[in-house]
Symmetry: C2
Subunit: 181 residues, 2 copies
Amino acid sequence: MSKKLYEKTIRTEKIFSGRVIDLQVEQVELPDGKQSAREIVKHPGAVAIIPITSEGKLVLVRQYRKALEKEIVEIPAGKLERGEEPGECAIRELEEETGYKARSLQYLLSFYTSPGFADEIIYLYLAGDLEAGHVNTDDDEFVELLEVSLEEAEAMVENQVIHDAKTAYAVQFLRLRELRS
Amino acid sequence: MSKKLYEKTIRTEKIFSGRVIDLQVEQVELPDGKQSAREIVKHPGAVAIIPITSEGKLVLVRQYRKALEKEIVEIPAGKLERGEEPGECAIRELEEETGYKARSLQYLLSFYTSPGFADEIIYLYLAGDLEAGHVNTDDDEFVELLEVSLEEAEAMVENQVIHDAKTAYAVQFLRLRELRS
């Protein structure tokens, strides 16, 4: 890591500690010796799953996102519990939100969602060989399931019914996989 | 929108108002009549740009992200200023961070980065016909430029030097465009 870009913490002010996120403001020394403040959201990390049925359909969940004040459609996803391994979390979240138990799970990659202000990282998995079961969401989680073809998913990205980054990424991933095979 | 999923705000508690983000906690009534709290980060929105040089190279910026306590490599991006139109913002941010003035700019799509806890939306653009100029970053912004081939960018996603969602999306976008042409 080059020292040219490094920002040293001078002090940290803890603003909020919540159920999902914490917020802190860090006073930093910039590479040129001046100071600035960074507003930082701490998040436990999450997993997201690209579930493919035996018919080749992509399983999606529709839910109301209070931050957006609207419903959006996403691939199944959820926060890591304390000490939980991402692969376990992927299996658990997929089953809770969709009822599907994945008998095949492939780790793809991880990404940061908002590096400008948050440390959230998402571990992305491809799930197949799905066994249907019962949905069992958290008490404060209400979802509707959709199973769509890749072409339908692409139309949903186009018309922005699919409107979040991880899901748009997932749709591209599936198209690339198809074009390469 | 189905009422089955809607969450009605009972009250809003404003926690923090910062330079980049605000934080509030909303007490909501769930579809089943029970209540829960939602921790919500308000963000002004941002743009990200996929800049392609005349040699077909992707222009990337390396910067220290305090939220992650490390350097990462991203496509150029930046927050919307108050009242700023996303296309103008894309032209401005590209020039500030890379020195390049885009004579061609194509809007691709928008996406939410973290719908579980934040309202941040990113408007994504493809920029071409680039005219080199002078970098002029904000006072608290320090970046290094890289120009890489698509193959190099894919390797950087693979080894997670490229480790954020919008940039991984951009790399897939370029590969899809190439496979389809």
